[in-house]
Assembly symmetry: C2
Homo-oligomer: 509 residues x 2
Amino acid sequence: MSTAVVVILLSTCLHALAETSDPKDQIGHYKRLRNELFQKELEMMLGSDIVLTDNEQKANDIIMELKNAVVDDGFTNPRHFNFSKHFFEYKDQLTDTMLYRILRDMPKGALLHAHDTGILAAEYVLNITYWDDLYVCRVEDEIEYLFSSNTPIKYCKTKWVPMKEVRYTSGNVKKFDSDLIRRFSIVVDDPAAEYPDINTVWSKFSNYFISTTPLLTYKPAWEFYFYETLKAAREEGIMYVEIRSVLPSLYDLNGEIYSSVDTAKSYKDVLDKFMKNFPDFYGAKLIYAPHRRVSDETVEQYVQIAQQIKRKMPDFLAGFDFVGQEDLGRPLAEIAPQVLELAAEMNFIFHAGETNWYGKSSDENIIDAIALGTKRIGHGYAITKHPALMEEVKNRDIALEVNVVSNAVLGLVADVRNHPLATMMARGLPVVLSSDDPGVWGADILTHDYYVAFVAVASRHADLRLLKKLAKNSLYYSTISDKDKALHEFEIRWTKFIGRLLKDKWSYF
Amino acid sequence: MSTAVVVILLSTCLHALAETSDPKDQIGHYKRLRNELFQKELEMMLGSDIVLTDNEQKANDIIMELKNAVVDDGFTNPRHFNFSKHFFEYKDQLTDTMLYRILRDMPKGALLHAHDTGILAAEYVLNITYWDDLYVCRVEDEIEYLFSSNTPIKYCKTKWVPMKEVRYTSGNVKKFDSDLIRRFSIVVDDPAAEYPDINTVWSKFSNYFISTTPLLTYKPAWEFYFYETLKAAREEGIMYVEIRSVLPSLYDLNGEIYSSVDTAKSYKDVLDKFMKNFPDFYGAKLIYAPHRRVSDETVEQYVQIAQQIKRKMPDFLAGFDFVGQEDLGRPLAEIAPQVLELAAEMNFIFHAGETNWYGKSSDENIIDAIALGTKRIGHGYAITKHPALMEEVKNRDIALEVNVVSNAVLGLVADVRNHPLATMMARGLPVVLSSDDPGVWGADILTHDYYVAFVAVASRHADLRLLKKLAKNSLYYSTISDKDKALHEFEIRWTKFIGRLLKDKWSYF
């Protein structure tokens, strides 16, 4: 062996020895590797590409102090930590906190996943029951509603009575109204007992829509509800809305019945009126999203309706989707071939993977949604069980419309720290936050979802950059017409918000 | 423009047109892409590299029919689906099924994550209370135990009475024993009410260990318990065990107190005896795993004990770890520097990330465990929130010791379909299944964990290949001395099991 070789071998050996047995170097090696992994994780997180200005950094300090107080207290006293409990137990406590008020004031960009008649609080529906010309047919515990200029001729097992008469002869108007309020939401005192499994809560949830339909499809009520939706969204820092609708037939006092296309037109008219009154709003579009649990013939009708709307209101239609509990409805694989012809004219924005089944049709709807070229995925809750699909949505830039509170309330996850959104954010997947049907569970339009996602689901390290990223994403992944202008305007409003927070944080107290 | 260019452009254009607007081709494109994604997912799944023989394929058909009957019924009737309920509600129903009996009989390789005094059912502990020389000191509802040749001189607020006397003057021995059984497990009728948060269940869990310690650290009881553990493991198709122990001081009737090293030696002696009686067993090793919630001085003592055991029983010591609730204990980052010197002599097999916090120390223990060069990770529940760490364990081939039932019972996850194991298996991460402390929650040594992971957590598509992979992994990632021989023997036993199943599947009915 040559001397050179011996020297090289010896040096390698000594180096290896030093690496493994010198305790000081071992600690150095461990610390370097630890830091490397830690930084790598931070860099992958959603929002890590956002660079904060000095002012934003100051605002971040305020926000993180509030967030981490909640997290650290929960870590020490899990009993204090609300987010491992049911949403109904803590939702009203949240609204009373400084962090909530800050998040409520924060510009949030767009609301991209919300179902038209489930957005507003029960009080709005109650308001409609005070309107003239409302009749009710009560059979045991069931109430049917109908607006009519005269006593309705529709069959009633008992008889149609004017709502006013029923209410004011009830003896206790307050109790009468609070009973109604309970019918106009799924909030209950003991959700564990009343909703023992997912189908029970979905059944109550579906009943909400069925029972409110005759109230809300009265054309003036329909238009009132949408107008108020836009107003409430605007008040929560939302500048643009994409609303999903099954587009039911509306009716009026003259007994006229309207088509789905008319219903879409009615939305467009309300929007035009709203934009006149609030020109700082950035508009709304419609996602036509009829029921998935229907026959092939009905799907064929949906296609025609979608095409008609596209022809009449090309800029107003954002896309096409199907709604209804995926576990019980028809899988995309079954109904997709029939709607594929729509792809040339409009976006698909499909619900997929709103389930905790794995390897069943509702789970695999995500594969179909992607293969069908969906622009975004509604929910995508199941996607973290599909590493190849996570790659795919990242590469194709398909946004996931995540609705944390909805998933918790509708029985997918008990402790929201187990919500797959954590993994999605950690991977830096294209995520937008939304709220699905916040009114049905007594949540605000979008703020509860931001609070829960930010404080309870995201990493303790996730900060203002995540919040800003989520808000910007909602515009970026929308189908808004002048996206650049909207994003620019968002920055202006964001800067103003940071200014307000820095000027007087105690105004949020 | 040259003709050639025009032709190329035209052809490209026509091709693009055909791609997007010919409905038949659109459907073809969608179906191809769908199939491609679906196959890609299947190929990434844990177990996809296993090729089944014809006989295994037949056995697979039997097993999948049983599995999918459960899954499909649950999909249609979520109320029937046990695995979204608490483990205590369904554990005894499982053992009475054909699939359970098949899984119980199936060779499972190694048991790699189990804590020595929490493995056997409460009945084993009860058995020990029937032994001679046991005294009890009862103060209100508390019972203290002590084996002693004479009435113990240790302080007792009331007085030490022979257990036999207490039991046979209790008036109702059956009730007396069933009261004891309740003390020797954490199983309760209404877990939601009794364990409202994670600390409550951990407190009851810790109390189990505290209260049984004086019973089980009686040297003959200690040796009996370990011998029976090995026997029970062997009966469930386990051929090799790595047991975690805090190595408490043992005592005997003569009042002698033994050191931790003696305790390790006592395990080694029991093992030697067991191997003589059951030469078909493949042995056991010790993971020395003392408490994490201790002072620096105590950690220093741990290091010395570990080194002494390594010197005296080099082949018996599999590695070093810390135990105790991670959220409350000291983070690895804090205690690691002190134990780093052990790395040259033994494996680290650290608990890490047994938590649903994200961005807190218990979560980030995973980073430290990896940076410290851990061979395997105990639990790693939180890892799916860390994409970079998932890459790291895959590249470094660090196995995750997953304990689904334990995580459910100890309050990390309610519906096991949300358990991160689903994501780990989907990603093909190196996973081994284990059971942590099955006796404490009335589970079998390993079969409940296999059942729950296979039927409720894994994809509906996951089949016998997953089961075989999990079993083989447990040997592959172990520190067993002659790994090749053990893996070869496993294949022989596996083939016999497949033979038994095919010969008479109804024997499992």
